[in-house]
Amino acid sequence: MKPLDVMWVGLGGGLGSVLRWWVGRVVGERHHGDFPLGTFLINVSGTFLIGYLSVLFGVDWHDRYGHGMVLNAFVLTGVLGGYTTFSTMQLDAVKLSDKRRGGIATSYLLLSVAAGLLTGQIGAALARAQG
């Protein structure tokens, strides 16, 4: 890990975070139900992309530290890490519980995880199929 890689992570994280804010806004303007659809779509699409790009870049997920690989630091750790969020997902769930929507909160968390587990592998399989 070089200081330059940390800079790439920061740049990617900033861009990914702005993208998350923008997608959340666009989805929030169109969707008015209790289910936190914006964060859900952000997290699931980001996980699909990390699966797809990890295979494409030939990165083992244990080995994200990169050894000076700019694409890895910038795109995987930076952009996708900044785009997806674990903390907002938990805040969404806590807010639903506040409104006595505990059932929706629980299914939201479980559905996010199940969809994430699945789409990451679908992305990886797609990249492998393309050779």
Partner: protein, 126 residues
């Protein structure tokens, strides 16, 4: 509008770099349990609880919330590494599947508790 974009960008950049430091500093235990990502996610959930609590009581401004609540804690936490890392562990071996399941449950429970704890801290001090 442009002010929010800048605040979210700066906060997200700082958060993502902090996560990178977690990945460098936190040791990975045997059997591949992703302790670094767990630590980053739980700390981010705690901080988000804290700043969301302060923001709802008007102690933290909209700008501070954009910087820390949307930018920094979102950049520090990650769902993509959490979910993809779990799925990779799961398909690798039976042991991996057990470790990954424990990782998912611990992350969800600890993240939830950390967020509520962060939110309560301010009201306790009142």
């Amino acid at each position: 509008m442009i002010k929010i974009v800048i605040l979210v960008f700066v906060g997200g950049a700082v958060g993502a770099m902090l996560r990178e430091f977690f990945m460098l500093i936190v040791p990975t235990p045997s059997r591949g349990f992703p302790l670094d990502i767990l630590a980053a996610n739980v700390v981010a959930a705690f901080l988000l609880g804290l700043i969301a609590g302060l923001h709802s009581r008007k102690v933290a401004s909209d700008e501070v919330y954009a910087l820390i609540g949307i930018g920094m804690t979102g950049g520090l936490s990650t769902f993509s590494s959490f979910a993809y890392g779990s799925s990779e562990l799961m398909i690798r071996s039976a042991t991996g599947a057990v470790v990954a399941s424990a990782y998912v449950v611990i992350s969800l429970v600890m993240g939830y508790i950390a967020l509520i704890a962060g939110r309560k801290i301010y009201s306790i001090r009142q």
